[in-house]
C-alpha cells in the first residue's frame, strides 16, 4: 500500500498548473486534497508519473457572494463549505451535503474541485450541484469556459475536462426561498452513499412550482431524476409520493455488494420522496 514513485510539481498559479499539464501530457495528474487520488495510487490502481499539486495556490479557496449567485473556489475544502456562513444561509444544500462527505479528517483535506473533477457518481456533491444547476468555470490553455453541471459529467470517472484544463470555480445559485434536502443512504456514516438524493424545490401558491432532483450513485455519472421532476412540476404537495415513484426512471444503477440495481432503484424512489417532503418543509 505504497504508491509507485512519481515526480512532484508545485503549481504556483492556475496558469502554471496549465503549463505543467501541457508539459507532462497524459502522465500527469492534478493533486488537490488528494483524498480521491492518493487512495487509488496506494493500491497502485492509478500510476501517474507526475503529480501537480494545486495545494499551494492560495486564491482558489473562497466563497464569494456574486450578487445573483455564489462562487466557490475549486480548492475550497469540504470543512470550509460546511461552516461558511454565506453558504449556510444562501445555499444550505452545499454546506449540508459537504458535511456528509467522508469523515472530519477527509473533510479537512478534500476539496469541492477535487471531488467534482474526479467525476465519481458515488460522490455526494456532484448530484447536489446538478440539482442546483450549478456552473463550473474551467481554465485551460485555450482560455476560460463555463460549463453547466448537467454537461460536465460524461461517463464513469470521465468529465468534460480536457487534459490541460483545470476546474477553478463552482457557481451555485442563491436558494432564496426554495426548499432543499439531501438524503444520503449508507450503512456507516463514513461510507460512500449507496444512493443519495438531492432536492431543490420551489413553492408556488401552495403547490410545487418546480423541483430539481439529483441522484448519487444511480449510474455511471450523477443524474437528474427528470421524470419525477416533471411529475412534481405544479403538483400538489400531497402527491409527492406518487410523483417521486418515477425517480429511478432513466437511471442505470450498478449492482454490487452493497445493493442490487433493483434495490438502488427502490431507494432512489423512497429517498426522493423523503427529500422532496423535507425540502417542502424547509
Amino acid at each position: 500500500m505504497i504508491p509507485i514513485a512519481f515526480d512532484y510539481e508545485v503549481a504556483e498559479s492556475v496558469d502554471h498548473a496549465i503549463e505543467l499539464l501541457k508539459e507532462n501530457g497524459d502522465e500527469a495528474k492534478l493533486l488537490a486534497g488528494g483524498h480521491s487520488l492518493l487512495p487509488i495510487m496506494k493500491l497502485r490502481l492509478a500510476t501517474p508519473t507526475v503529480l501537480i499539486d494545486l495545494g499551494r495556490i492560495d486564491d482558489l479557496n473562497y466563497v464569494r457572494d456574486e450578487g445573483d449567485h455564489l462562487a466557490i473556489g475549486a480548492m475550497t475544502r469540504h470543512c470550509d463549505m460546511e461552516r461558511d456562513a454565506t453558504l449556510q444561509e444562501q445555499c444550505g444544500l452545499i454546506s449540508y451535503t459537504a458535511s456528509l462527505v467522508g469523515d472530519p479528517q477527509v473533510r479537512h483535506r478534500g476539496t469541492i474541485g477535487g471531488s467534482v473533477s474526479h467525476g465519481d457518481a458515488a460522490s455526494d456533491l456532484p448530484s447536489a450541484l446538478l440539482a442546483l444547476e450549478a456552473n463550473f468555470v474551467i481554465k485551460g490553455s485555450g482560455g476560460e469556459r463555463t460549463v453547466a453541471a448537467g454537461d460536465f459529467f460524461e461517463d464513469y470517472l470521465q468529465t468534460t475536462l480536457a487534459p490541460d484544463e483545470v476546474l477553478t470555480e463552482i457557481q451555485v445559485p442563491k436558494l432564496n426561498g426554495a426548499g432543499w434536502s439531501y438524503k444520503k443512504f449508507n450503512r456507516r456514516a463514513q461510507d460512500w452513499a449507496v444512493v443519495g438524493v438531492a432536492a431543490v424545490v420551489e413553492r408556488s401558491n401552495g403547490s410545487i412550482g418546480s423541483a430539481r432532483i439529483g441522484l448519487t450513485n444511480m449510474g455511471s455519472t450523477p443524474l437528474r431524476a427528470t421524470a419525477a421532476e416533471s411529475a412534481l412540476s405544479g403538483a400538489d404537495p400531497s402527491s409527492v409520493a406518487e410523483a417521486t415513484s418515477s425517480a429511478d426512471e432513466g437511471t442505470s444503477p450498478s449492482s454490487d455488494i452493497a445493493a442490487s440495481s433493483e434495490y438502488r432503484r427502490h431507494l432512489a424512489r423512497v429517498l426522493s420522496r423523503r427529500a422532496v417532503e423535507e425540502a417542502l418543509s424547509r
Partner: protein, 862 residues
C-alpha cells in the same frame, strides 16, 4: 462467597497500562528498529487455486535496495532441516489418544515426540508441513502447508515469493519484477459445494475436501424425536468474519550473537506457544529461542496462531544473519490473517407442546479454508459443548465436518465456536416459541436450569459450574421495561408506522478458562491448559509478578496488580506485572478463550498466598511467636492479642532476602511460583435485550437500546469488565448487522479493505445499559469466571431476534447475518410476494434469501 472486602479487588483502579498508550510511547512491533535490519515484502497469489508453472525472481534481485529474493523452492531446505519437525507430530499426531494416554500412564518415553517407534504401525508423514495443533480425529486429513508455496497455491493470498530489501518501499517495488506463470485451477469457494459429488478438490493429493468429521452424542436422540409433539428444523449461516485487529500482524527476528540463537518479536497473543512451534518448525533449539510479544494492538483470536510470516522471518534471519522485519499491510491482513466463523448449521429441536425441549440435533459444515491452522479444526468443537446453551434436556447429537475450500484459512475469532452455538440455540428457541404459541421469554423459562452453585451435568456431557438464569432474565426485563416496549411495539404496529420496533432476547453462557489439561487432551487440542505465576518480593519490599498470560488490551497489568496487592497487603503501585517475554517467563499458556483471569489471575492469587504463608512463618520467627498466633492484615503480621508486636510484609521480605536469621532449613527470599491447572472450565452467563427500530421502507436497522445483565462471578476491576462487555457486544452487533467476508466465484476476496468490509464506528453502535449479578464459580478459590467473549456470544442472536421480531407482522421468521438493509428490504419484498428483482450481483456465494426463507419456516412433524 460474596465479594471479599479487599482493598483493590472489585474497585475501578485506573489502568496502569494507559500512560504509554495515551502518550504515544508504546512499543509496537513496527516501532522496533534494529541496526542492519532488513525489510521483507511478500508476493502473494492473485489466484485462489492454481499451479505455479514457473517463477523467476532474478529481476527483482537486481532492483535498488534489494538484498535477496527467494521462491518457495529456494527456501524449501530452510525449514526442511528436521523432517520430523512439525507441531502436529510433536503434539502426538499419528498416535491415537488412547495410545498417548496409555503411554503417559505407563510412564514410558515422553509421548510428545512422534517417531516410527512411538507410533507403531501408523506411518509418520515426513513430508507434511503444517501449523495445526488441534487434530480432532486419527484420520484427520492434514494438507501440506509450505510457508512459501512451491508447486501450487490454494487461496488468494498464499505466499509465492519473498523479497528482502533495505527499506519497505524498495521491497514493495521489487515485487513488481517477479514473474510468475500460473495455471489456474477450479476453485472451491463454497462449503456446501465443496462436499458435493464431483466437486473440484482443494488438495488433490488428499482426495477429498473433508478434513475430518467429529461427533458427540448423549442420551437417546431418536427417542427424544419420537416422543416429541413438535419438531423444528432450521438452517443458519455463520458468515465468514475478518478479525481486523487495528494493529496488523508484524514480526522482527533478530539473530543473537551470544547464544547463537534468535529473538523473535511478534505481534502475537501467544509468545510461549509460538516459541515452541517455531523451534520445532524451524529446527532452532528451543533454549536458544526467545519470543517477545511487545505491545500488541488487539488480537481477537487472529494473533492466536503461528503464521508462515513468523517462520519466514526467523528463517531469513538465520540465512542472512541480520535482523529481519515484516509488517503486514492491511490488504495482506484481509487475505493472510485467519478468518473466523464460516459455518453452515443444520439444527433440529424436539420438544413438547408445552415448549419443553427433549432433544437437539446439530450438523455442521465448518469451513477450514485452504489449510489447517493452529486450532482451526477445534473451533466448531469448542462450540459443540454449548449448543444446548442455558437449557437442560436429555438427548443431544452433534456432528461437524471440517471442509477445505480455496479461501483464507479459518481459526479462532472472538468467541470461537461459541457465538455460532449460542446463535443457533437462541434462534431456534424463538422458532419453538412461535410453534407452540408462547412468549419467547416464557419458553426460555420453561427450559432453564434451576439455579445451582455446584457443578451440574449438561446435555453436552460436561458440567456447568454455577448458574442462575431466572435472576438475570428477570432483571434485564425490568431494566428494559419489557412491558413498556411491548406497548410501544403494539402502537407502532397498529398505526402502520413505517419504522417498526423489534425486541430481541438472548440468554447465553460462555465456556471460559480454557484449562483442564486432561480435558484438552481428551479433545486432542494439542495444547495444555495450566497457567503459571511467580510472585516475588524484592529486597526493597516491592513486588514483581511474572505471569504466563499475554495481554493485548485486557488490562492484566492492572488486574493482576490488584490481585497481588490485596493478597500481600501492599500498595497496588508497588506491584509490577511482567509478561510477554519468554526470557522473563519461560512458561506460560498465553491469552485466549477468556482464560486469563480464571487460570492466570487465580495463579497470581495462589502464588501470592504462598508468599504470605512463607512470610507468616518468618514473621513468627522474627517476633518469637508461634506461627499459629500470627495474624495478617493490611500487609502487617501481628501476634494475636498483642497488636504492638508486629512486622510488615516488607520487613519480612527484607529479612528473607538477607537470610541472616530465618527459621531453620528455610530458603532465602520470598519468591513463589505456582502452576495451576483448574479442575473445570468456568461458565459465565447472562441475558441480553436488543431494541431495534427497523425502517421498513429502506430496510435500515438502527439499534436504539441494548440492555444486558451479565454474571461473570466476582469482578476484579469493574471498569475493565464493562469495557470487555462493550467491545464484545460491539463485535456481536458487527456480525449481526455489518460484517461479512465476501468472495466472488473466482475466489477473490471482494471485501478486502476497510472500505468494503464494514467495521461499525461510533455512530453505528448504541449506548449499552449493563448490570451485573455475582454468582461465584466453585472451580477456583476466587470464584472468578472470565468475561472476554461474553458480549460477542450474547449479542448476535439478540440483534437478529430483534430484527425478526420487528418484521414478524410480515410473517418473516428469519434473516441471515449480516442483516443488511438490502437483505431486510428483500425479505419484506419476498414476504409481500412482490417482485424484488433478482439479486443479480449476489457475490456472497450463498443461497439466496428467497431460498432461505423456505428453509426457515420451521417444519412441524407432529
Amino acid at each position: 462467597m460474596t465479594q471479599a472486602p479487599e482493598r483493590y479487588i472489585g474497585g475501578g483502579v485506573p489502568r496502569k497500562e494507559d500512560p504509554a498508550l495515551v502518550t504515544g510511547r508504546a512499543n509496537w512491533t513496527d516501532n522496533i528498529k534494529l541496526p542492519g535490519m532488513l525489510h521483507v515484502s511478500l508476493l502473494r497469489s492473485p489466484y485462489a487455486h492454481a499451479k505455479i508453472t514457473s517463477i523467476d525472481v532474478s529481476a527483482a534481485r537486481e532492483q535498488p535496495g534489494v538484498v535477496a529474493a527467494f521462491t518457495g523452492d529456494d527456501l524449501a531446505e530452510d525449514w526442511d532441516k528436521n523432517p520430523q519437525a512439525n507441531p502436529a507430530a510433536v503434539t502426538g499426531y499419528g498416535m491415537s489418544l488412547d495410545q498417548r494416554v496409555r503411554q503417559a500412564q505407563e510412564g514410558g518415553e515422553s509421548s510428545v515426540t512422534d517417531t516410527p517407534e512411538t507410533t507403531g504401525e501408523q506411518p509418520v508423514d515426513e513430508k507434511t508441513r503444517t501449523f495445526v495443533s488441534w487434530i480432532p480425529t486419527d484420520d484427520t486429513k492434514i494438507p501440506n502447508h509450505w510457508p512459501v508455496a512451491r508447486d501450487e497455491v490454494n487461496y488468494a493470498g498464499d505466499i509465492v515469493a519473498v523479497v528482502v530489501a533495505t527499506d519497505r518501499y524498495k521491497a514493495q517495488d521489487a515485487l513488481e519484477f517477479i514473474e510468475v506463470d500460473y495455471e489456474p485451477m477450479e476453485p472451491v469457494v463454497d462449503v456446501e459445494a465443496a462436499v458435493a459429488d464431483g466437486a473440484p478438490l482443494v488438495h488433490e493429493d488428499i482426495g477429498t475436501n473433508e478434513s475430518f468429521t467429529w461427533t458427540l452424542a448423549t442420551g437417546d436422540i431418536d427417542d427424544a424425536f419420537n416422543r416429541a409433539d413438535v419438531t423444528i428444523k432450521e438452517r443458519y449461516l455463520q458468515q465468514r468474519l475478518i478479525p481486523n485487529a487495528i494493529e496488523t500482524r508484524g514480526v522482527v527476528a533478530n539473530p543473537d550473537a551470544i547464544t547463537g540463537g534468535y529473538t523473535v518479536y511478534s505481534s502475537t497473543q501467544i509468545p510461549h506457544i509460538l516459541k515452541y512451534v517455531l523451534a520445532v518448525y524451524c529446527d532452532v533449539p528451543e533454549q536458544q529461542l526467545r519470543v517477545v510479544a511487545p505491545d500488541v494492538g488487539g488480537g481477537f483470536g487472529s494473533k492466536l496462531n503461528v503464521y508462515a510470516e513468523e517462520v519466514i522471518a526467523l528463517v531469513l534471519a538465520r540465512k542472512l544473519g541480520v535482523p529481519i522485519k515484516w509488517i503486514e499491510d492491511r490488504s495482506e491482513n484481509y487475505l493472510a490473517t485467519i478468518h473466523g466463523r464460516g459455518q453452515v448449521q443444520d439444527i433440529e429441536l424436539a420438544a413438547t407442546s408445552e415448549g419443553k425441549i427433549l432433544g437437539m440435533r446439530v450438523n455442521l459444515l465448518a469451513d477450514m479454508g485452504a489449510y489447517l491452522m493452529l486450532d482451526g479444526p477445534g473451533i466448531p468443537i469448542l462450540g459443540a459443548f454449548v449448543y444446548p446453551g442455558v437449557y437442560t434436556f436429555d438427548a443431544y447429537d452433534f456432528s461437524v465436518t471440517g471442509v477445505f475450500t480455496n479461501m483464507t484459512p479459518t481459526d479462532a475469532y472472538r468467541g470461537a465456536g461459541r457465538p455460532e452455538a449460542c446463535f443457533a440455540i437462541e434462534r431456534i428457541i424463538e422458532a419453538l416459541a412461535r410453534e407452540v404459541g408462547l412468549d419467547p421469554v416464557e419458553v426460555r423459562r420453561r427450559n432453564f436450569y434451576e439455579p445451582f452453585d455446584e457443578p451440574t451435568d449438561t446435555p453436552a456431557g460436561i458440567q456447568y459450574d454455577s448458574m442462575n438464569m431466572p435472576m438475570v432474565l428477570d432483571r434485564v426485563l425490568e431494566l428494559a421495561d419489557y412491558e413498556g416496549l411491548l406497548e410501544e411495539q403494539r402502537r407502532r404496529r397498529e398505526s402502520g408506522d413505517p419504522v417498526q420496533l423489534g425486541i430481541g432476547f438472548s440468554t447465553y453462557t460462555e465456556i471460559c478458562g480454557l484449562a483442564p489439561s486432561q480435558v484438552l487432551a481428551g479433545l486432542r487440542t494439542g495444547g495444555s491448559g495450566w497457567e503459571t505465576a511467580k510472585v516475588q518480593m524484592l529486597a526493597s519490599g516491592k513486588v514483581e509478578v511474572i505471569t504466563g498470560t499475554s495481554p493485548h488490551g485486557q488490562g492484566h497489568v492492572t488486574s493482576w496488580s490488584q490481585i497481588a496487592a490485596d493478597a500481600l497487603g501492599v500498595d497496588v503501585n508497588d506491584v509490577e506485572i511482567l509478561h510477554g517475554d519468554t526470557a522473563l517467563s519461560p512458561y506460560g499458556r498465553d491469552t485466549y478463550g477468556s482464560r486469563s483471569l480464571p487460570v492466570g489471575g487465580v495463579s497470581v492469587h495462589l502464588a501470592a498466598q504462598q508468599v504470605v504463608d512463607k512470610a507468616r512463618k518468618i514473621s513468627a520467627h522474627m517476633l518469637e511467636a508461634a506461627e499459629g498466633d500470627m495474624e495478617f492484615e493490611g500487609g502487617r503480621f501481628s501476634v494475636a492479642g498483642s497488636p504492638d508486636q508486629n512486622v510488615t510484609i516488607q520487613d519480612v521480605a527484607a529479612a528473607a532476602y538477607m537470610n541472616y536469621d530465618l527459621p531453620e532449613g528455610m530458603e532465602p527470599v520470598l519468591s513463589e511460583e505456582v502452576f495451576w491447572d483448574p479442575p473445570n472450565f468456568t461458565f459465565p452467563f447472562g441475558a441480553h435485550i436488543c431494541v431495534t427500530e427497523v425502517d421498513t421502507e429502506t430496510g435500515f436497522v438502527k439499534i436504539r437500546d441494548y440492555f444486558g445483565v451479565d454474571d461473570c462471578g466476582p469482578v476484579i476491576n469493574p471498569i475493565i469488565v464493562d469495557g470487555q462487555l462493550h467491545g464484545g457486544i460491539a463485535q456481536g452487533v458487527a456480525q449481526a448487522l455489518y460484517e461479512e467476508a465476501i468472495y466472488d466465484e473466482e475466489g477473490n476476496l471482494t471485501t478486502g479493505s476497510m472500505v468494503d468490509y464494514l467495521i461499525p464506528g461510533a455512530p453505528e453502535l448504541p449506548k449499552y445499559t449493563l448490570e451485573r449479578t455475582v454468582t461465584p464459580s466453585p472451580t477456583n478459590v476466587m470464584g472468578v469466571k472470565g468475561v472476554g467473549e461474553a458480549g460477542t456470544i450474547g449479542a448476535p442472536p439478540a440483534v437478529i431476534n430483534s430484527v425478526v421480531d420487528a418484521l414478524s407482522p410480515y410473517g418473516i421468521t428469519h434473516i441471515d447475518m449480516p442483516a443488511s438493509p438490502w437483505k431486510v428490504w428483500q425479505a419484506i419484498q419476498d414476504a409481500q410476494g412482490q417482485e424484488a428483482g433478482t439479486r443479480d450481483a449476489d457475490l456472497s456465494g450463498r443461497p439466496s434469501q428467497a431460498a432461505d426463507s423456505t428453509d426457515t419456516e420451521g417444519g412441524t412433524d407432529s
